[in-house]
């Protein structure tokens, strides 16, 4: 009977793996059609890794935010603000270590304000972080006087952007480090379980003894701090802090998270999926550039991919 066949087919829940399947297909397609443009060369692959590092890093933290049924639209702006504060600290001659602390603390502080407004003042995170997106970028513009703040520290530039170890770009190490931490926290730790429970059913989580406000607070602070780190990496790569860093990144980050299989409805979150989603978007963008498409066309394709991914992913909810 066809219905029986359908049943055994559904044993393998292919929707869960749709991103991975799609990714492999896309890779195969591009490696054939773009062989001459050098798509599969080590150089280009490392290039993709470099281009997607910041999105991946912010995506790891965003996975927790979305899994807890919240959203953070301020990450791109936080990245810019942290890049500026880090660069300014070094410009003041306070040294690299201080600058790193200031950069991360900037992200953490903005994340704290986000979390405070969401949990204590009970404003929806969409609104809080939408406003924060403007405020943070505004402050970044103001602090920098809209001019780039140059970074001269060789060490900083090596560690946070342009360096490479044994031919592997340092940005890849950063991505792996954050992804592995994120993976362990999400899949193995108490905090990860509590985050998922908070997003899955906040009332039931509270009744189980979880302080859901504390979870949300932590998640926003982590998101702010990772956005700060991403901003510092932008600064290291371009050897300056600019208020324009990370413009529109919030959308790419959310796209990567959703593409990876994390549910916008909360309760489900996969860090590995997010990184793959981010690399996938980066790979497609890279291929489109190699194919000679411009930014406008890239945007159209990226938008289309998100709709397709979410359309496939959401069918599961209904049954």
């Amino acid at each position: 009977m066809p219905s029986k066949l359908k049943n055994s087919l559904s044993l393998f829940d292919w929707r869960q793996y749709i991103v991975y399947i799609a990714f492999v297909l896309v890779l195969i397609y591009f490696s054939i059609t773009l062989a001459e443009e050098g798509f599969m060369t080590t150089g280009n692959i490392l290039n993709i890794a470099r281009q997607t590092a910041m999105i991946s890093i912010m995506g790891v933290a965003m996975t927790f935010v979305i899994a807890s049924k919240e959203i953070d639209l301020s990450v791109g702006s936080i990245a810019a603000l942290s890049a500026i504060t880090t660069a300014l600290t070094m410009q003041q001659g306070l040294g690299m270590i201080t600058a790193i602390i200031v950069g991360l603390a900037t992200g953490l502080a903005v994340g704290f304000v986000n979390g405070y407004l969401v949990t204590k003042v009970a404003i929806p995170s969409f609104l809080v972080t939408l406003a924060m997106m403007m405020i943070a970028r505004g402050v970044a513009m103001w602090l920098s006087g809209t001019a780039p703040v140059p970074i001269l520290s060789e060490n900083y530039i090596f560690l946070f952007g342009s360096g490479s170890v044994l031919g592997v770009p340092i940005l890849l190490f950063w991505t792996l480090l954050i992804a592995i931490i994120g993976y362990i926290v999400m899949r193995k730790s108490v905090f990860g379980r509590q985050t998922l429970a908070t997003g899955g059913n906040e009332t039931a989580a509270t009744f189980s003894g979880i302080n859901t406000n504390r979870i949300k607070m932590t998640v926003f602070m982590a998101s702010g701090m990772m956005a700060g780190l991403a901003g510092m990496l932008y600064a290291g790569r371009l050897q300056a802090g600019r208020f324009t860093f990370g413009e529109g990144d919030e959308l790419s980050v959310i796209a990567a998270v959703i593409l990876g299989g994390t549910s916008l409805f909360g309760g489900v979150g996969t860090v590995v999926g997010t990184v793959i989603g981010s690399v996938m978007i980066g790979t497609i963008n890279n291929a489109l550039i190699l194919q000679g498409l411009d930014v406008s066309q890239q945007m159209v394709v990226q938008g289309a991919i998100i709709i397709l991914a979410v359309a496939f992913g959401s069918k599961k909810r209904k049954s």
Partner: protein, 500 residues
């Protein structure tokens, strides 16, 4: 009366290769009230979901009024006159009763505008026909849970229903609401509507049903007329053999110098809890009886730190405690099985294991990392002990049957090993066999020196396990009666009534 309105033949259904229904035959006659019974996970809800097009059958056929039918969704089924009131409610709290009744079928006037007047007057007529008094203009969130059920029925009636399926309608109803429901069922029956009635409550079945079909492990074991079958035979058919334990009271010895573990003094909270005082001792099972709305659930919510306390004190192990959240309550050794498993007890999209370990994550982890092998072991053991019917501990909870979901909420707190266990309607939706087993487990817990506070609307169950029963009326504890002194259910029933 002898015409067969529904004939389901050789129905087969498997989920992910696991058979849930195996050649089930089910026939219903026009105008009868037909009880569908069976243990948790026997396949009752699944069979009815196949009938109404929520699920598709793998094999078999469905005949309604002599015509073969197979619905691909519930609204197709409604067009032919088959409506179901699900175990889970589908009402929208922010809408009025009338808006809910006519949801998606709103009567229209010119330009496609909703005809509110007609909607309200038609609703009023349906409600009046049912013989109950709710206003069509009330917001659903403001009416009692019992009336949600009535609204669901009104919703079904608005669609010219011929066959009405009710899946455990009384699990959220008070005694008097249940009476109202039965009189509605009788009225519907008189007007020629056929009713399929799923319930775990034996007395109800014999009160309203004409015939009974019992499912066990996905097959039908018997169909009989209510007049021809004894309660005992019915139970034996449901559990498949005779019942191991029965719901009888077993007197438990009371220790001489037992200490109070939880003292509640003049507690006030919200509008429902006015002045509640009681003491719970180590090793005691304390029952709490009262009508729905008397403030029992609100009392335990306040003690557990869910609702804010506006007056009075809570003492744990002799010292005064300020408990502001469930987290703090749990740290003091309290645990609560809440009244509504779906909204308060479970994260439905998470697995059996993930749900069960949620309150115990601290104990099951080392340096913040969850020890999975240890967790699996504990969850497996509990699933076995409570006979939760699930493929494995990684199955998504929303796919479990209602009664099995309820067992998991209990499992959460059994795993947590709490000293003071508070249970709010712990066996709602649980089958008769499992109910007796759960009562036995609760006795074991108390025997080990822990204290149990049970809120239950089921007198049989409450009387079977309690050492002492508190009577709650209108936000106050009016008396505390030793179980020994209670002769029968009627005595407690009388005590909880509010005299006017």
């Amino acid at each position: 009366m002898n015409h067969t309105i529904l004939r389901m033949k050789e129905i087969e259904k498997a989920f992910n290769g696991i058979t849930v229904l195996d050649k089930v035959n089910f026939e219903v006659k026009t105008g009868e009230v037909h009880a569908l019974m069976g243990g948790n996970g026997a396949g009752k809800s699944t069979l009815m979901k196949i009938l109404t097009g929520v699920y598709q059958l793998d094999e078999g056929s469905i005949e309604i009024d002599g015509e073969y039918q197979q619905f691909s969704n519930p609204s197709d089924a409604e067009k032919v006159g088959v409506s179901m009131i699900f175990q889970e409610f589908s009402l929208i709290p922010k809408l009025t009763v009338a808006q809910n009744i006519y949801l998606h079928y709103e009567p229209r006037k010119a330009f496609g505008m909703i005809n509110d007047k007609k909607m309200v007057s038609d609703s009023r007529k349906i409600i009046a026909d049912m013989g109950i008094s709710i206003s069509p203009n009330d917001l659903v969130e403001n009416i009692s849970l019992g009336y949600w059920q009535m609204t669901e029925i009104a919703k079904a009636l608005s669609k010219n229903t011929k066959i009405l399926i009710m899946d455990e309608p009384t699990s959220t109803l008070t005694k008097s609401e249940t009476k109202t429901l039965f009189s509605i069922i009788r009225r519907l029956k008189e007007s020629g509507i056929t009713i399929i009635y799923i319930s775990h409550r034996m007395d109800e079945i014999f009160e309203v049903c004409d015939r009974i079909t019992v499912l066990r492990n996905g097959t039908n074991v018997i169909t009989a007329s209510c007049a021809d079958i004894t309660m005992e035979a019915l139970i034996n058919n449901i559990v498949g053999g005779s019942m191991g334990q029965s719901l009888k009271w077993i007197e438990r010895p009371i220790k001489e110098n037992r200490k109070p573990i939880l003292e509640v003094k003049h507690l006030q909270s919200g509008s429902r809890v006015k002045d509640v005082s009681f003491t719970l001792y180590e090793g005691e099972i304390l029952g709490m009886a009262g009508l729905m709305g008397s403030g029992r659930s609100e009392t335990v919510r306040a003690v557990f730190g869910v609702d804010a306390i506006s007056g009075g004190e809570v003492h744990v192990r002799g010292s005064k405690k300020l408990i502001f959240s469930p987290k703090e309550a749990i740290q003091e050794g309290l645990g609560l099985v809440p009244e509504d498993r779906r909204s308060q007890g479970l994260v439905l999209e998470h697995s059996v294991k993930e749900n069960t370990i949620l309150p115990s994550l601290g104990a099951l982890s080392r340096r913040q990392i969850i020890q999975n092998s240890q967790a699996d072991e504990k969850v497996e053991a509990l699933v076995k002990k409570l006979k939760v019917k699930t493929d494995d501990i990684h199955k998504t909870v929303s796919l479990l049957s209602g009664g099995n979901q309820q067992k998991l909420v209990l499992a959460k707190w059994l795993l947590n090993d709490t000293d003071i266990l508070i249970l709010d309607e712990p066996t709602s939706g649980v089958d008769i066999g499992a109910k007796a087993e759960i009562v036995e487990i609760i006795r074991e817990i108390a025997d080990s020196g822990k204290a149990v506070l049970v809120v239950s609307s089921e007198m049989t169950e409450l009387l079977a396990m309690s050492d002492r029963i508190l009577i709650m009326k209108d936000g106050e504890i009016t008396s505390s009666i030793d179980r020994k002194e209670i002769k029968g259910e009627e005595e407690v029933e009388r005590a909880i009534q509010v005299e006017k």
